[in-house]
């Protein structure tokens, strides 16, 4: 399989890697770099568990080839955790029981964070709509909406 050298920034660190043309960004993150918070749930871009930030916008790591990451700035849940930028959402998800098995949660958190940046005072319906690309099979979604709404209202520290 042809190999391609790439250089990108992942969670603030410069990463140089030689990737197979068939590897997805999820493969690079998980298998090569050990960034296992990026979960792979369907590999066809529907479930949203592998959501990451690609040049500042959410993207599906299963639908991006690793080779496409050349020159990109990428953030995973590990990076967002380390920077503290989603700490309020993380606490709210924990406090509201907005996750059970946790498999969808990394993608859900990054999607919710992006939504709140653009919509600081959303309605519950808007929150639900914004998270429509992230499947959760454990909760009734209600606790997730509660958690995101609490962060928007500033009732979560």
């Amino acid at each position: 399989m042809p190999m391609i050298p790439i250089t990108c920034t992942i969670n603030g660190e410069t990463v140089e890697a030689t990737v197979s043309t068939r590897d997805t960004l999820a493969d690079l993150l998980r298998d090569t770099l050990g960034l296992t918070a990026t979960h792979v749930g369907c590999e066809h871009g529907v479930c949203g568990a592998c959501t990451i930030l690609f040049d500042g916008r959410t993207a599906r790591a299963c639908l991006v080839l690793a080779a496409q990451a050349d020159g990109a700035e990428i953030e995973t849940l590990e990076g967002a955790t380390a920077s503290g930028r989603i700490a309020a959402l993380q606490k709210a998800f924990h406090d509201h029981a907005a996750l059970q098995c946790g498999f969808c949660t990394p993608g859900m958190l990054l999607a919710a964070a992006e939504f709140l940046e653009d919509h600081p005072a959303p309605s519950r319906a808007e929150i639900r709509e914004a998270l429509s690309g992230n499947l959760c099979r454990c909760t009734g979604y209600q606790a997730i909406v509660d958690a995101v709404a609490a962060v928007a209202k500033g009732t979560e520290p």
Binding site: H44, A49, Q90, A97, F103, T139
Partner: protein
């Protein structure tokens, strides 16, 4: 147990494990790495039914990076086949099943060969090079054809019928003959499945020097799998260790033995190297356990006054080509026979459930098993009968519900319900909302031409089974759980529990129970679950049981450890143990509350200076195991749905959803509530969206998440949750009933009733789920 239990029992404590998970520190099977790890990919049958004439693995085996290619015959050299029998159902036809198909494939997606390579990608490439000569055989897809047609899936059985269960009690014919109203309906339930977002997977590591198998397994029941792997692979069970790390959802789908999974273990044995496999999503859809493909003909007889006289149900359900192992596929039919009419008093029933084999994926246990079928049939029939009699459907329910005065209620189904709390549930519903106003609102909307409806379903959930079902049936599934507590030298408590966690929160509930039982802060207890090498052989997660059974074991272990701590303290302090108490982690004088010793001091003396304890050898460890002596513990409740149907598109919109639930002691309302909501949403999925569509050749047509629709956030409304609190059962236990399947059991019924209420505006009705727009428009005569 009637005395109030100490905190933190009852506190809405966040689920501890989730703090780790929100920070990306989960460790699921796919995150586990092992030196020299190989990766597997399966070759699966592209046919619903076909003979395997030859398998040529040459090109696949020659692919660089491929370590081995195994056929069914290769795997069978180390892995025995099995039959999904159950001793309580001696007439159950359970054909022999191999890990990989050997001479005949019987469903599209059945594993046929296994490629092991240095990477998953190479294994998949090579799997595509395996050449199989197939002779397609007639496929049997739908249940009626399976029962009535000529084609046989297992020629040696001479029939496609797996099992007929029937029960008759009371004079059914007389009841129907004398009824003022008989309502009758043919129901169709769509085959669906659990769709855990983390697919099934495992890493099997075999050390041939010690014949030791270690499996990291995304599974609900690691002890069950330890036993299954040992027996079927010919290993000493005490050298088989199954570890369920973080598990990304289960819902019953990760509860059985799967041929592909044990084949991975067999491959690890044959190679002496660790082998990993995780299902991709298409494999999940074709090879995960499916559920609830039923055709039910149901009748109910009602008196003029609205008394339920009798039910008559004839259920035909299709279970794929084999009976699932180890639990068998008897459960769905069993639930239909045993739980039709469960919430109500009536005198006669005739019930029959026929399970048939077919050439579709395996089918068996998914959250609720057959209970949602029984509930939907019962509730829709009652609505129809009440309307036919000109009676108020909800009044008919209230009139017929099992009351406290009827307990223990010996239902004509043969089931005895020790405790049901429908009076409390209805009182809680009436306190929560104005039911009549809500119904007027729907009626007014209908009068204005809108299709708005309300449905109310009463449901009973059988939880926390005792050993009378699997144990008596000769099925190697534990209905018990165990808990070991150790006091560490610095005063903390380590818990080793046999419960398992896929997100439901039972771990945190068990921690709360232990903290309360011993008298320590919650943070003073840590716990390890999901590892068969460390804990008592227990049941894990199935049938809504972790808190009721595992929580009880934790309570008893906690009280035993507490007693020993107090005994040691009393000896050291020359005090009477009965005059001491443990509060907030400190041994105190019970009368004054004054501190006497910390648990750290007890731990240090007990571990490092035991000679200072007069007349005793400190153990600093306590264990308890527990299994319910009752056949089951019932939970019960009501689910209310308000829907509005778009008459142009046929789409059903949820407007309001209310659950009233009674489950005995609630250890953690925060976690219980969202657990019930999650169950409701899975029931809503079944009611509105989810169906595995197959063609007549047994080909799955919608094996992706883009085509098989699971509910997303916008389709779901907020779900109002009300707990009814009934008098505790008064036994010697904590009085916990399970909640895991409650939501799923009643949700489809509530929606189907609401949809029919809405459709009544046009004189239309529907008796099929999911209620897709196409089916709604068909019912309305639009298409």
């Amino acid at each position: 147990m009637t005395a109030p239990l100490p905190a933190p029992i009852g506190a809405p404590v966040p689920h501890r494990r989730t703090w780790r998970l929100v920070h990306g520190r989960g460790r699921y099977v796919g995150d586990v790495t092992v030196p020299r790890l190989l990766h597997a990919a399966f070759v699966r049958s592209p046919h619903g039914h076909a003979r395997i004439d030859a398998i040529d693995v040459g090109a696949a085996a020659a692919t660089p990076g491929v370590v081995a290619v195994f056929t069914g015959a290769d795997i069978a050299t180390v892995c025995r086949p099995w039959r999904g029998v159950h001793g309580l159902f001696p007439s159950l036809n359970a054909p022999l099943q191999h890990a990989l198909a050997i001479d005949t494939a019987r469903w599209s997606g059945e594993p046929v060969a296994l490629v092991v390579a240095t990477s998953r990608a190479i294994a998949e490439d090579a799997a595509a090079l395996v050449v199989i000569d197939w002779t397609p055989l007639p496929a049997v897809a739908d249940p009626e054809t399976a029962r009535d047609g000529a084609a046989r899936i297992h020629p040696d059985l001479g029939t496609n019928v797996c099992l007929v269960q029937s029960h008759e009690s009371g004079d059914v014919d007389a009841a129907f003959a004398g009824a003022a109203v008989v309502a009758e309906e043919t129901f169709r339930f769509g085959r669906h499945t659990g769709v855990p977002i983390e697919a099934r997977g495992l890493i099997a590591d075999f050390d041939p020097t010690e014949r030791r198998l270690t499996v990291h397994h995304s599974h609900q029941c690691p002890h069950q799998m330890q036993n299954d792997f040992a027996v079927l692979l010919g290993l000493a069970e005490h050298r088989v260790r199954v570890i369920a790390p973080d598990v990304g959802g289960g819902f019953g789908i990760k509860q059985q033995l799967y041929g592909d999974e044990i084949a991975v273990c067999a491959a690890a044995m044959l190679l002496g190297r660790p082998v990993a496999w995780t299902a991709d999503r298409l494999e999940s859809f074709t090879a995960d356990i499916h559920a609830r493909e039923h055709v039910v003909q149901g009748r109910v007889a009602l008196s003029a006054a609205g008394d339920i006289l009798a039910f008559d149900v004839d259920d035909l359900h299709a279970i794929g080509p084999y009976s699932q192992f180890p639990r068998s596929s008897a459960g769905e039919g069993r639930a239909v026979v045993a739980q039709t009419g469960a919430p109500y008093r009536f005198g006669a029933i005739r019930a029959r459930a026929t399970a048939v084999f077919q050439n579709k994926g395996m089918s068996g246990h998914y959250r609720g098993v057959g209970q949602p079928i029984a509930c939907a049939v019962t509730e829709v029939l009652l609505d129809k009968a009440a309307r036919g009699a000109g009676l108020d459907p909800i009044a008919v329910r209230r009139r017929n519900l099992v009351r406290a005065a009827d307990l223990p209620w010996r239902a004509p189904t043969g089931v005895t319900y020790p405790r049901l709390a429908f009076e409390e549930c209805f009182a809680a519903l009436d306190a929560h909302l104005d039911l009549e106003a809500l119904r007027r609102d729907c009626a007014d909307a209908r009068a204005n031409g809108r299709l708005r409806g309300l449905g109310l379903a009463c449901f009973v959930e059988m939880t926390s089974r005792g050993s009378g079902f699997y144990g008596t049936g000769g099925v190697a599934v534990s209905s018990r759980d165990g808990c070991t507590l150790r006091l560490e030298p610095t005063g903390g408590i380590r818990c080793l529990s046999s419960i398992t966690e896929q997100g439901q929160g039972a771990e945190t509930g068990v921690l709360q129970v232990i903290a309360a039982a011993v008298g320590v802060p919650l943070d003073a207890v840590d716990l390890l679950t999901g590892d068969t090498a460390t804990s008592f052989h227990g049941g894990g997660t199935w049938g809504s049981r972790c808190m009721a059974i595992g929580g009880e074991a934790a309570w008893r272990a906690g009280r035993a450890l507490r007693a020993e701590i107090l005994d040691i303290a009393a000896r050291l302090l020359q005090a009477d143990a009965g005059a001491l108490d443990i509060r907030d982690g400190v041994v105190v004088d019970a009368a004054t509350g004054g501190g006497r010793m910390t648990l750290a001091e007890i731990g240090a003396v007990g571990h490092f200076r035991p000679h200072e304890v007069p007349g005793a050898q400190p153990q600093l460890v306590a264990s308890a195991s527990y299994g319910s002596e009752a056949p089951f513990r019932p939970g019960c409740g009501l689910q209310l749905a308000v829907v509005e149907i778009d008459p142009d598109s046929g789409a059903v919109r949820l407007e309001r959803f209310v659950v009233v639930h009674e489950c005995g002691l609630v250890v953690n309302p925060l976690l219980v509530d969202e657990q019930i909501r999650g169950g409701v949403v899975q029931g809503l999925g079944a009611a509105l969206f989810e169906e595995l569509l197959y063609d007549s050749e047994g080909q799955l047509l919608n094996g992706s998440l883009a085509d098989y629709l699971v509910p997303t956030a916008p389709e779901i409304c907020d779900i109002e949750l009300v707990h009814a609190h009934a008098t505790p059962a008064g036994g010697d236990d904590l009085g916990i009933a399970g909640v895991g399947e409650a939501g799923t059991t009643g949700a489809s019924a509530a929606v189907l009733c609401a949809v029919n209420d809405a459709l009544s505006a046009r004189g239309a009705s529907i008796a099929q789920i999911p209620c897709t727009p196409e089916r709604i428009l068909t019912a309305l005569g639009v298409i």
